[in-house]
């Protein structure tokens, strides 16, 4: 589903123009990105939680150079699915 689809559908549901929805969408996404780059985590209910964390420097084997490489620290976005979503996805199957 592309952004255009999402905006079209939401504009109908929320009774807004597509422009307004687009504005909301951009601010929303921009806000989430700003939060994460500022080290603030958050939860989107029903979907999961996001936070940024630092992956520390470590050594690792690079098969191309066939050598050990030093991987510098990196800050990455971490996502954890919400339990609601997990249970919905695994409905009807054995859980836990």
């Amino acid at each position: 589903m592309t952004k255009a689809d999402v905006i079209k559908q939401l504009a109908e549901e929320l009774d807004l123009t597509q422009e307004e929805t687009d504005q909301l969408y951009d601010s929303f996404v921009e806000g989430m990105i700003t939060l994460l780059s500022n080290n603030r985590g958050f939860t989107l209910p029903g979907l999961g939680s996001f936070h940024a964390e630092v992956r520390t420097e470590h050594k690792s084997y690079n098969p191309h150079y066939q050598q050990m490489m030093k991987i510098p620290p990196k800050k990455v976005v971490h996502f954890k699915q919400s339990s609601v979503l997990r249970d919905e996805l695994n409905e009807g199957e054995d859980e836990q």
């Binding site: 589903m1 549901e13 929320l14 989430m32 994460l36 500022n38 603030r40 999961g48 699915q81 996805l89």
Partner: protein, 347 residues
Amino acid sequence: MSNKVTYTEIVEALSRKTGFSKSKSEEFIKGVIGLAKQDLDENGKAVITNFGSFTVKEVAERQGQNPQTGEPITIPAHKRVNFSAYKPLRERVNAPFAHLETELLEEESGTDEQESEVTPPPKEAEAKKEPVSPSSRKKDNDNSGLMIAALLLLVIVALASGWFLMTADEETPATDQAAIETPQTPEATETMDDVAMEENSEETNTEQVGQADSPQATEPQSDSLPENPETTEQRATGSVDTPETYQVESGEWYWVIAEKVYGESGFWPLLFQANETLEDDPDQLYPSMGLEVPELEGTVATPTSNDYQRLALASTMVSEAYQRAGKTEKAEEYARFAEKWERQSRQ
């Protein structure tokens, strides 16, 4: 520092930013989440454009351990959702570490390879170099020990600088120098070795020069965490006008940063405006936060009327934020600032 922001705060911030009511904002966020979930259910993947994508992964059955009792248990096959962030998001989150690169570790298996690749040429190189070292030796024998040291140092320095120039020209990304530089490097290394043999203490230095790229580059990595803010700050102050992002150090406030990036602390409301977070209190800043630094239309000394207008608007926002934070005095102060900027924008 992983302070979480609540859902309500997100909704409030969105409504504040866009001017829509809170209920509309919440409906919107719910809508986005709903659509993403629907997509996940139906297609096994979903996208929030410009943010990231979600995919459903099948996890195979595996053996696990009960972490409390240590009993082996079977974890049945199940599905889970993976998230992969869009590139711009990844880059912005990783901004504090963006200047770091992966490095080869030289001591390991790498040295064997490098040597094997370098060995063929050295014979020619030795032949060329031999005249150099004996001649210098003859002279040295006549002279005092001090002269020997001085001459050798000169030769080493000359060779080392030549080496630097060569490596710089070739722009090798520090990864596989040996492979690319075979025509020139062996000569250089050999001469250096020849000369250095005579003075053991020097040898280590020159050899390190050869591998200079890696040790130097690794230095900032090893203690990157404390150093990061400084380096980014250097970058910030280095570029003359206005850098795009600024890494906050602990104990810094907006006005300190404005002083640094604009040279004018009174312009801090612009920073606040561009980086409106969910904090109500403008006095609250977290170290390692990345601040966007908006550019001025004019210069700091002579802002355009548009700049003044933006300052006025920004000051109003600051004032409102102070109001919400319950700091009425400051709120009034910045309301007055806003008026002042407003007046200046009309001049």
